[in-house]
């Protein structure tokens, strides 16, 4: 049964070899001519305006938190979707109640304007 994961393992190994290999080989055989312009940090084409290591706004926190919550909601849907035909209408109602409760939260977030980037 674990044999069916062999393609995934192969893919991971190829990806690892490629990423490590391209860094190592470009360092080994690439020519290095350091200029000031080349070594300056790149920031969307414009000159850097300050350190990137500043405190981030708490607005990011709310987005991350909402992402986790709805991510977990989707995770619960996987076993439900696999068993959907065997659970029938009962399973459909169960998931309906589950989504409805979370929809209340979604409406709350929307109403409070937490999704807006003020």
């Amino acid at each position: 049964m674990l044999d069916s994961y062999l393609p995934i393992l192969t893919l991971i190994i190829i990806a690892l070899c490629f990423s490590i290999g391209s860094v190592v080989f470009s360092r080994l055989i690439g020519e290095k001519r350091m200029t000031e312009l080349k070594m300056s940090p790149y920031e969307c084409g414009m000159p850097p305006v300050g350190s990137a290591r500043e405190r981030f706004s708490v607005k990011f926190y709310i987005i991350a938190m909402l992402f986790i919550v709805f991510d977990i909601e989707v995770v619960f849907m996987y076993p439900w979707a696999v068993m959907f035909k065997r659970l029938g209408l009962f399973g459909f109602m169960e998931m309906g109640v589950f989504i409805l409760i979370l929809l209340v939260g979604y409406a709350y977030v929307w109403k409070k304007g937490a999704l807006e980037w003020e």
Binding site: M1, Y61, M65, I72, V75, R86, E94, I101, L102, K112
Partner: protein
């Protein structure tokens, strides 16, 4: 073959676990933690629990790590926490050694219930791991499942109340 792979992954887990506590920058620690989570997902696959592996990667290596990284950046630990807590290494190693002894003791005392009980390795293989979880979750553990949605609702409201200036 499988046992060699097990120990290889175990080595990576232990090394990344050490890196989590030993890295200078908290962001590097967080990335080492991603590595640990990913290796744990490999163990779930080896335990014939692919759904758990998928959840491990999606929720832990994905969502939880995003939150941890955001908290590191919110607190701006990137530059300030140069001096990490390194005292008390004796006490912490003593505590973890004690924990290890406990775990090994209870593992030795318990018995393998592979061929006894409703869910055996055979049922998992024939019925399917995700299907078994779905069946248990939506019939036997229906109430906890619905309560989980209320828990998530509380998390949403809590995040909004915490982070919003004018609720």
């Amino acid at each position: 073959m499988e046992i060699i792979f097990f120990y290889l992954v175990a080595l990576i887990v232990v090394i990344s676990g050490i890196l989590v506590v030993r890295c200078q920058s908290p962001v590097n620690s967080a990335l080492a933690l991603v590595n640990t989570f990913f290796c744990l997902a490999i163990y779930y696959v080896m335990l014939r629990a692919p759904f758990m592996a998928a959840v491990q990667i999606m929720v832990y290596a994905g969502a939880i790590m995003v939150l941890i990284l955001f908290v590191i950046m919110l607190l701006n630990l990137g530059t300030e926490a140069k001096k990490r807590y390194t005292q008390g290494i004796v006490w912490s190693s003593l505590a973890s050694l004690l924990l290890l002894v406990n775990v090994v003791y209870f593992l030795k005392r318990g018995q393998v219930t592979d061929s006894v009980g409703d869910i055996t390795a055979y049922t998992v293989q024939s019925f399917g791991h995700t299907e078994l979880i779905g069946k248990a979750l939506f019939t036997e553990f229906l109430l906890p499942f619905e309560i989980a949605s209320i828990l998530l609702l509380v998390a949403i409201v809590g995040a909004v109340v915490l982070a919003k200036k004018d609720v």
